[in-house]
Symmetry: C2
Subunit: 103 residues, 2 copies
Amino acid sequence: MSLKNTFVHHVHFWLKDKADQPKLIEGLNTLLPITSIRDIHIGVPADTNRDVIDRSYDVSLLILFDGSAEQEAYQVDPTHVLFAENYAKPLCAKVVVQDSINI
Amino acid sequence: MSLKNTFVHHVHFWLKDKADQPKLIEGLNTLLPITSIRDIHIGVPADTNRDVIDRSYDVSLLILFDGSAEQEAYQVDPTHVLFAENYAKPLCAKVVVQDSINI
């Protein structure tokens, strides 16, 4: 199925200490009740391994929103703000976000 | 909705020449009939712009598969092989793939 009217928000997290992976995932699970989220996937690198594959990150968060307004609502949702303060910022050495919209 | 049993395959493309964006997108659209694909999103950077956001890529391809077997079938599907040869390789300076599975 071709996903139309979809705002793709993909975040990759690199931990300061790989031992904190369960704690970060615990934090990501606190995001599940946020109502502006359409679909959410919390993941780790697959075992694929080719030249073009980046498997250096520790945890992946993919969220599909209905559009830009929903993504903006998510950014300011208190549950997301708490996640950023209590989990992402203290635990991560690097966070990269890629936001894509349909063409 | 929390996406379970989902193999996330996200590819970001950086073109040699930004004028080739329509041609690459034409190529990506040839992938749509591949039967191992569950969901596909062809996109470009959203207008979000914060420190953590990477908006340097030219085109995004997100595919959701039911699992690793479907992703492997896609890699060797003749339609995908032709896309790689005729569009991705000649047009792109850099391609980065991030594959993630549920935890």
